[in-house]
């Protein structure tokens, strides 16, 4: 086994941090590292925390860490923030809200830039979770970038998705729409100290009543919190525990995890094929000829692309 993997399994902070960097940077050892670590995972509870920018995700997380630490749990956080499409740089500012846990050896916080990935997390988040899982943390929490309506990759990464909503984002029609509103396992209405918080709760209930008209007992829990006033955090923790027990007992957890593996297999295979095709097109140097052919209207797009693709498949077969 590569030495770094052994150090990760031994729970060494520096090794865990370095392993995540290797995953992020596509280091040549990445695949061997993940393959070595993978069999040791599967013991962590993986929570997703998502919601609009400024809804209080990091502040809630800070308070949730307090509660879980009091209960003796070890916690790892991956906090994702957006990479600038203009400069490629990023300001990773989530951990600022959780910095009081910086000196706690049982809390590991890692900021991650999205690096062009669009689904609310980074391309490397999935493998980073495997590193943390193998390192033996009781709970791994993924905080997404501030999301809009369609960034829902967190579903494919976590056992339980917590969706944070706040007053002032719209009416029940907004809540009825497809996308982010469909992915919450637990709904959190943060900033409950504000006037319209009850209305937000009513809108969510309105939507859930439609969704679960025939099985009202399966309605998702809604928790009211105020990070500023430190309200509702105990209830949130209890709700997570209860939800976890429920999905563990009714087989949903296993189903979700298998679904996650299935999605990942597809993603990885597609990504590998894509890079092979890109390399093929690059080697051939013939994409320019295709451009010229199409620009001058001498060729038609699908004819020329199918021709190229067939040549790629033939070459791959002959290897």
């Amino acid at each position: 086994m590569i030495p770094l993997a052994e150090d990760v399994l031994a729970g060494q902070t520096r090794a865990i941090a370095r392993a995540i960097s290797r995953v992020e940077n596509g280091h040549p050892d990445k695949e061997a590292l993940i393959d070595a670590l993978y069999p040791h995972g599967g013991t962590s509870l993986i929570l997703g925390l998502t919601g609009p920018p400024g809804s209080g995700k990091s502040s809630l997380l800070d308070l949730l860490i307090d509660k879980e630490r009091s209960a003796g749990k070890s916690i790892a956080v991956i906090a994702v923030d957006p990479t600038s499409p203009f400069s490629g740089g990023a300001i990773l500012g989530d951990r600022l809200r959780m910095q009081k846990h910086a000196t706690d050896d049982h809390v590991f916080i890692r900021s991650m830039a999205s690096r062009g990935h669009l689904g609310g997390v980074a391309g490397a988040t999935s493998d980073a979770i495997k590193v943390l899982d193998a390192a033996g943390f009781d709970i791994i929490i993924i905080e997404t970038i501030g999301v809009g309506q369609t960034e829902i990759d967190i579903v494919e990464l976590s056992d339980i998705v917590m969706l944070v909503l706040v007053p002032g984002l719209g009416d029940e029609i907004q809540a009825l729409k497809a996308g982010v509103m469909e992915i919450g396992d637990i709904f959190i209405v943060n900033k409950s100290d504000r006037d319209d918080a009850d209305k937000v709760k009513a809108h969510i209930e309105y939507v859930l009543n439609f969704k679960y008209m025939e099985k009202p007992d399966q309605k998702n829990p809604i928790v009211m919190t105020s990070a500023v006033k430190q309200d509702g955090i105990n209830t949130l923790r209890d709700t997570i525990q209860t939800y976890y027990q429920t999905i563990l007992n009714n087989g949903m957890l296993e189903q979700k995890r298998k679904q996650r593996i299935k999605a990942e297999i597809k993603n990885l295979i597609t990504a590998k094929i894509k890079s092979k095709v890109e390399a093929f097109l690059h080697d051939q140097g013939s994409i320019e000829a295709m451009v010229d052919g199409l620009y001058e209207k001498k060729r038609s797009p699908y004819a020329i692309i199918n021709e190229k693709l067939n040549r790629f498949l033939q070459e791959k077969q002959s290897i």
Partner: protein, 134 residues
């Protein structure tokens, strides 16, 4: 593709003047680096542990309170002790010229005083790029 550099910007001690730290964080973001910002009032231990967890290549310290002669070397010591031997540490803020040589002797690679153009900091970072090992 060039290695993406990660930089921790932090304010040690009790100084709350964070405009400079935020300015440099933003400027380095615009220069294409991944910048982790801890906020104010950080202990050397918190900065060191953050630097290790975040696996950063650089740590930039900002201080305007006058406690740099005590705090900067202490941050260097705790980072090295935590195993961050290759992390390049630089500082900025209100630092008298007379203090700079001693700080450099104590492991602060560069000091950027008030009014330093951002490009000077970027050039410094790029010059260190070769030494960064992953």
């Amino acid at each position: 593709m060039k290695q993406k550099l990660r930089i921790l910007i932090s304010k040690p001690g009790l100084d709350g003047h964070d405009r400079g730290a935020k300015y440099i964080a933003r400027a380095l973001k615009d220069a294409g680096y991944e910048v982790i910002y801890t906020g104010i009032r950080q202990s050397p231990e918190a900065i060191a542990k953050t630097a290790i967890q975040e696996d950063v290549d650089f740590v930039g310290l900002s201080l305007l309170s006058g406690a740099h002669n005590e705090l900067f070397p202490e941050v260097v010591r705790t980072i090295r002790e935590a195993g961050g031997n290759n992390i390049v540490i630089f500082g900025g803020g209100v630092i008298p010229e007379d203090d700079i040589a001693d700080l450099q002797k104590n492991g602060i690679s560069a000091i950027f005083t008030t009014g330093t153009p951002v490009q000077t900091v970027i050039d410094f970072i790029e010059n260190q790029r070769e030494q960064i090992s992953h």
